[in-house]
């Protein structure tokens, strides 16, 4: 009998081009996604060394980080404009398909890859973007790389990679009503911290993971990097197969059936051995809100802000004090008392159609609180179109939200969507780092449902109580 294998081992074995003792393995890359921010210097490197792009048809580009989300043809920042023009010139010169700002497929790179069916089980996928882990939801080995590695992949379609250690994050039980995939991954990072995944590829397993939709799985895998893991993935199953059926770049007919069999065979074998396993009970998870300056600084909405005096070490005390100072929060302040001025629904974590549907359910017929500015930024133009076909734009606009075009937007505030200094945002994105949404801006990470509820009440509100109150 053959040794049981994890999905990571299976994908790895299928992609090794060259093995040599004392060196990392040379791994073939099936799909290389690129965007305007982390690619210009890579293309410049190719030109300087008179190299070409080895497989332009395995490369796919879009513009997302810099694009304006309103009046999208007025790019006020000349440097942003130049960066976007440079991507277009590079794609033209090297023959790379590009979904530019005018293209109907344009959107956040980690939203459009799956949407177009470019993301498939068993593929090795890289992008000069740490949230490439998102594509792991399909059982792909997908990870973020730096610009030098982008250049390496453009030139050779390979990367030198040491085989990773594997970490099984097993989520048992069932999520409660009103508790989302975002709360699940925030709770895992809140419990185990922002570096437990360093050096590992995470595989998410367990009943709670199996019952998630593909879009929910993407939310979970997206934040693997916030736990330190370059990649996080989920073994393919029928949910994966059904999502992919009919997608543009996915095979059809008999070829689809063959692909289906190959995909399902990739799932980790019974008895496969992981380097490490962590378990968590989904039924204990509540809606989460981050209170600090990294995603591990996270608590249930019913909790209170930590008191540095209760920290177990000097380092932890200093860390909490520093975070509370930046966030302008008081020790022991109930999280539900924190008032916000901004709400951002968007980002590669939570901007897909189901995220917008869930948020719209909360705001339908309500009004955004008078002290709150709220925006919805769909993850792609295609998500935007679908949402409009369902009338979600009207629901949001009637409630007082702004309805925007697709892009990364306020997740990292590289375009005009910036939180002013000292102001506070409930955000469905993935990073609450200092200055992330604007210099001295304060970010609290939440699910789309929690962001929507906060937009209405003006402070963090347990969406489960909010929904109950609506029903009675």
């Amino acid at each position: 009998m053959t040794q049981p294998k994890t999905i990571v081992e299976k994908i790895w074995d299928q992609h090794v081009v060259h093995l040599e003792k004392g060196k990392p393995d040379l791994l073939y890359i099936d799909l290389h996604l690129i965007h305007e921010v982390t690619s210009p210097q890579a293309f410049e490197g190719l030109r300087m060394n008179d190299r070409s792009v080895r497989r332009p048809e395995r490369t796919y580009a879009t513009m997302d980080h810099n694009v304006p989300t309103r009046e999208r043809h007025i790019i006020k920042d000349a440097v942003s404009k130049k960066q976007m023009e440079t991507l277009k010139q590079n794609c033209d010169e090297f023959g790379i398909p590009l979904a530019d700002i005018d293209h109907p497929d344009q959107g956040i790179v980690h939203v459009i890859g799956p949407e177009l069916g470019l993301t498939q089980p068993g593929k090795t996928i890289v992008c000069g973007d740490s949230h490439t882990s998102t594509h792991g939801a399909f059982g792909a080995l997908a990870f973020g790389i730096g610009t030098s590695e982008v250049e390496h992949v453009l030139a050779t379609q390979t990367l030198w990679q040491a085989p990773p250690k594997t970490l099984n994050v097993k989520v048992n039980g069932e999520l409660g009503t009103g508790v989302t995939a975002k709360d699940l991954i925030l709770a895992v990072i809140g419990k185990y911290g922002v570096r437990f995944g360093t050096g590992y590829v995470i595989e998410y397993t367990g009943d709670a993971i199996r019952s998630l939709t593909m879009e929910q799985r993407m939310t979970v895998c997206n934040m693997s990097i916030e736990a330190g893991a370059r990649a996080g993935l989920i073994s393919p199953d029928e949910t994966t197969v059904e999502y992919l059926r009919g997608k543009r770049h996915v095979p059809e007919g008999q070829a689809f059936d063959e692909a289906r069999d190959e995909w399902l065979a990739l799932a980790s074998d019974e008895g496969a051995v992981y380097d490490h396993t962590l378990e968590i009970d989904a039924s204990e998870i509540e809606p989460q809100v981050t209170w600090g300056t990294n995603p591990g600084m996270c608590l249930p909405v019913s909790a209170s802000v930590p008191d540095p005096a209760e920290a177990t070490t000097d380092n932890k005390r200093a860390e909490i004090e520093h975070a509370l100072n930046y966030m302008d929060l008081q020790p022991n302040q109930p999280i539900s008392d924190i008032a916000i001025e901004h709400v951002f629904i968007g980002s590669c974590t939570n901007s897909r159609i189901s995220d917008l549907q869930k948020a719209a359910e909360i705001v339908r017929g309500k009004t955004v609180h008078s002290s709150v500015t709220a925006i919805v930024v769909p993850g792609s133009q295609s998500v935007k179109q679908q949402a409009e076909a369902e009338g979600l734009d009207v629901v949001f606009k009637q409630a007082g939200f702004e309805w925007r075009d697709a892009g990364c937007s306020m997740c990292l505030a590289m375009n005009d969507d910036v939180i002013p200094p000292g102001e506070r945002c409930a955000s469905t994105s993935n990073r609450n780092f200092e200055g992330r949404q604007g210099t001295d801006a304060r970010t609290h990470l939440v699910s789309p449902e929690m962001a929507a509820a906060a937009a209405i009440t003006g402070h963090f509100t347990d969406v489960r109580q909010f929904t109950n109150a609506l029903q009675h």
């Binding site: 060259h18 990392p24 410049e44 860390e319 990073r431």
Partner: protein, 196 residues
């Protein structure tokens, strides 16, 4: 890339954990299409006020750290975004060596690609080095060839480094040229697995 074999330099202590790449270089500086010139933006929000004036209380702005080239920091240094602008900024500012109890994976790789020696040392040693560099003008030598870090007061410690990465750093090699020596293997793989 510049080879790095042995480097002696002034130590700058940054006693913080989980320093993310958004802190190392904020997003508003990622719009440039060049590789050079990012040093001026290093730790921007910590070094500068909104009006662009220096924050005197941020330690890197103190004259005693002028000319520093060895950064000692807390665990999980370089977490978050994959932006290679972070090592570009550190390198352009003058840092050649970074010591920490642990590094984020992508950042660590990005350092190697830019000729920055990132070394993992035990937490106790890092605390000791941070303390020294906070209290005095403190120099260290990093000897990559012999895999040791030492000062001239008797401190000496050895460190682990992957053989391949050591070879790349010592020779200042561009790994694309190394990979292209295996082009036949890539072609074979493509003809067998993915079609030409």
């Amino acid at each position: 890339m510049e080879p790095i074999r042995k480097h002696e330099g002034l130590v700058y202590p940054l006693n913080r954990s989980n320093v993310d790449t958004d802190q190392i270089i904020p997003k508003q500086f990622l719009k440039r299409i060049e590789r050079q010139g990012f040093g001026q933006f290093l730790f921007y929000n910590w070094r500068f006020h909104h009006d662009g004036s220096q924050k005197e209380d941020f330690s890197l702005n103190q004259p005693k750290y002028d000319g520093t080239s060895i950064l000692v920091a807390g665990e999980n240094f370089g977490c978050g975004s994959s932006r290679e602008h972070a090592p570009w900024a550190l390198e352009d500012y003058g840092f050649k060596v970074i010591l920490a109890p642990s590094f984020a994976d992508i950042f660590f790789n990005n350092c190697i690609k830019n000729g920055i020696l990132a070394v993992t040392l035990p937490e106790e040693e890092i605390s000791q080095l941070i303390q020294k560099a906070e209290n005095e003008t403190y120099h260290l030598t990093a000897d990559l060839k012999n895999q040791v870090i030492y000062d001239n007061e008797g401190f000496k410690t050895s460190f682990e480094v992957n053989d391949y990465q050591k070879e790349m750093l010592i020779n200042g090699w561009d790994d694309i040229s190394v990979t292209l020596t295996h082009e036949n293997k890539i072609k074979q793989y493509e003809s067998k697995k993915v079609g030409v």
